[in-house]
Amino acid sequence: MDLQKIQTIASKELRDALKNRWFILFTLAFAGLSLALSALSQPSGTQLELASYSKTAASLINLVLLFIPLIGLTLGTSGLASDRETGALAYLLAQPVNHAEVLLGKYIGMAVALIASLILGFGVSGLALSMQGQSGDFAGYLFTVMLACLLALAMLSVGFLLAVIIKKTSTALTGGLFTWLLLVFVGDLGIMGAAIVTEMPIQTIFWLSSINPLQMFKMASILNIQANLEVLGPVGMYATEQYGAALLPFLLLGLLLWIVIPMGIALSIFSQRNLITLKRRPA
């Protein structure tokens, strides 16, 4: 593995992402919404003032849950699949590089762009709060940012896996959007529905929820802010009582696995050389 080649590909991907209109739009929307949320999270009163770091972080959790998976999945699927469809990926692979260098280079470039976008979004709120002289748990705020970054990387990995499996850009993007719907809405509601219908034991509900990286992020973020999951109801209380201090490391490990496993599978499939075909003019 040649790190210089990975860096070259990553730099190109970063430049591409920063030129991408949709990515710029997302970054601006996320920054604007996070700033608005920090303003709306103010405790009371008529005078507009910004809320504390903790309250802003709590408000941002829902924004992250909605936005980050969407942009991570679409960036991951479209970036790789479109290069494959145009033939640019095959041409790149015909150079003295190996498949792993190309895939990792692309992943790192997109990951840096995604994290920069998140930091900008959270940074705007953080800066506004600090200018208002807000005190409070700044370290906790930073921890939420770190969790959001982990979730973004996990979604990017899933996006890459989809792009490696699905050859057509449009189908890969549809797959990304379907996965987003599944993780954001269907997964949550599905477990709730199944729990009611089948009278599922509470530990099963907890474990099923824990499979979803979005739920992992949500639980870890809440634990970071208030040290227990009571706000999540009986399942949260069960998890807090049962696993105590081990819960946060467990959730962090889960998020890390969501980064490593899909990307590992993507690398393994992508390295099967016959997958990429050289672009030819139609006969």
Partner: protein, 293 residues
């Protein structure tokens, strides 16, 4: 330089290459000839090491199966369909130069070789087909590889760009590069190749010279003979009587001949004392403009 032994490639139940063996000497130009589906592209993919295959393929002492990346260092590849990223000409060359670990000073030299100097800041998407082809060749030449691999290099170019590109490849071959190219166009094969690897249904049909291929395909060349005004009508009458298809064109007559049989015509004129002012054989194996007699 390249030795292929019993190369086979299967896509499921489809046999794309079936025990193909050949070797290419350093400095040689080899054409891959065959209809669509004959196995030309598969052979190119195997040479690049981007596809797995059965058999053994050695490129400049490197086993492609074991170390495709190292083999690709020895090969400059020009694809049929240009697929560049959305960058300027210079940024594109800089990107591939970094991937090939070539000093940026080599970019200027590559641009000069392919006559693209002055187009540095142009977006690749704004280049014509011929210029894109030249850019791909510049990228291929960046690391000064001993082998150039070209997939239907002039398929999407107009006639003028085709001639220029063929000349460029010929110059590179004379400079010592080993060249392998696939083509559908016989005039390109005749102009460039020393040998032709003819593939049919994934099998090696024959390895021959372009002239042998032309003969097998029943192809003809056009001999352009310049005849003085006073003798031109006699010359045409003679050709007519001998059954040669010919086309008058200004001071010249184009005569349709079998490959490498130009001396037959020249002797014919000599025997009846018709002076030939000048002659040449067209590279194009196509009918020149005008009506045939």
């Amino acid at each position: 330089m390249i030795t292929a032994r019993q190369i086979s490639k299967y896509y499921g139940k489809v046999t794309a290459l079936d025990s193909v063996s050949f070797s290419i000497e350093a400095g040689e130009t080899l054409a891959l000839w065959g209809a669509n589906g004959a196995g030309k592209t598969t052979a190119i993919r195997c040479l690049l090491g981007v596809h797995s295959f059965e058999g053994s393929l050695i490129v400049d002492s490197i086993d492609v199966q074991k170390n495709g990346k190292a083999a690709r260092k020895k090969i400059g590849y020009v694809p049929q369909e240009m697929a560049f990223f959305d960058m300027s000409v210079y940024d594109t060359l800089q990107f591939y130069a970094r991937l090939k670990k070539v000093k940026e000073t080599e970019i200027a030299s590559a641009l000069e070789t392919v006559q693209l100097v002055g187009h540095n800041d142009k977006a690749v998407s704004a280049l014509s087909g011929g210029m894109k082809q030249r850019l791909a060749l510049a990228i291929a030449l960046l690391a000064n590889p001993p082998i150039l691999l070209l997939d239907e290099p002039t398929a999407s170019l107009d006639a003028e760009a085709q001639r220029e590109f063929v000349q460029l490849i010929r110059d590179l071959n004379q400079a010592g590069k080993t060249i392998i190219f696939s083509s559908h166009r016989f005039e390109e094969v005749a102009a460039l190749a020393q040998r032709v690897l003819v593939l049919e249904g994934g099998k090696l049909k024959t390895l021959c010279t372009p002239e042998e291929l032309a003969s097998e395909l029943g192809l003809h060349q056009w001999l352009r003979v310049v005849i003085a005004d006073a003798h031109r009508e006699n010359a045409r009458e003679l050709l007519q009587n001998q059954g040669y298809q010919h086309i008058p064109n200004g001071t010249a007559i184009f005569v349709n001949i079998e490959t490498n049989s130009k001396m037959d015509i020249l002797r014919l004129f000599e025997n009846v004392q018709i002076p030939v002012v000048d002659f040449d054989v067209t590279d194009a194996y196509a009918l020149p403009q005008g009506g045939a007699s």
